[in-house]
């Protein structure tokens, strides 16, 4: 885990890649989350809705970003985690998670505010995120 002294405002977090994602990853997440929208696994349904093929569940890449952050800061330490969805993610995409410290607080308990991002390799931003973690 990252030490408080390494978390100056503007410090960047070590980036990490996930994937390439597969249709099986989408299905596995749908089973785990309870979101069974067929647009994420049924090719005929996706095409009928105007898409070339099924695309990932936004909350899957959000969850991967959550795993990236809790691996760095600890599962019990998250206090806020927010995402906004940009580009869709497709089977075959490799995702790069990265982040930066935007603020830090020492009133009472030590906390850091983070800006987070999921980028598609060879593509654009899939998710912009923000998080707050306690740093024990």
């Amino acid at each position: 885990m990252i030490a408080w002294d390494d978390l100056a405002v503007g410090a960047t977090l070590p980036a990490r890649e996930y994937g390439p994602l597969t249709l099986t990853d989408f299905v596995r997440y749908q089973g785990a989350s309870g979101d069974f929208n067929p647009i994420h696994h049924d090719a005929a349904f996706a095409r009928a809705a105007g898409f070339p093929e099924p695309f990932s569940v936004g909350m899957l890449q959000a969850g991967i970003l959550g795993s990236y952050a809790t691996d760095l800061f600890g599962a019990a330490n998250v206090r806020r985690f927010a995402v906004s969805f940009r580009e869709q993610v497709w089977a075959g995409d490799v995702l790069e998670c990265s982040g930066e410290v935007t603020d830090r607080h020492e009133d009472g308990e030590r906390r850091v505010d983070l800006r987070l991002e999921v980028r598609r390799r060879d593509g654009g931003t899939a998710i912009r995120g923000e998080a707050t973690f306690v740093v024990p």
């Binding site: 596995r28 785990a32 309870g34 969850g63 599962a75 927010a82 995402v83 993610v89």
Partner: protein, 151 residues
Amino acid sequence: MVDRSAIGTTDDGYTMEVERGKIREFARATKSADPAYLDDPAPVIPPTFLTTQQFWSTPGAGVFSKVKMDLKRLLHGGQEYVFHGPPPAAGTRLHVRTRVEDIYEKEGSRGGTMTFVISVTEFRDDDGRLVAEARSTAIETARPPVEGGAS
């Protein structure tokens, strides 16, 4: 057509059990190998785990049935979770209630009106203490979504 009179309405609420096996399944599905999720006998939940609330609600009974959004034009714009202390751990029972916080319209960048529906879900423990809150932004687009939009 989205019904703006739905602002302020709440669902009937329901109870959700936080379970170790679901946490393990969810952690693996979101590519975490953290023993805090996989090996701890009473793991805390991952940051986005409360999305599994949909396993506990009654289909068709949620606030979205009152908002009357067109599901073919529905996008998930964003999601936020706030935890008032460490995230709840396996074995916790959560009392869940969702309200429609706001509904507003915006002109889309590709033309057409987009409608934004903001819903807030509160998760309380058996003592009534507010453990976590979720804020969700749903978007009804002017036409079915196209590649490059939100997911």
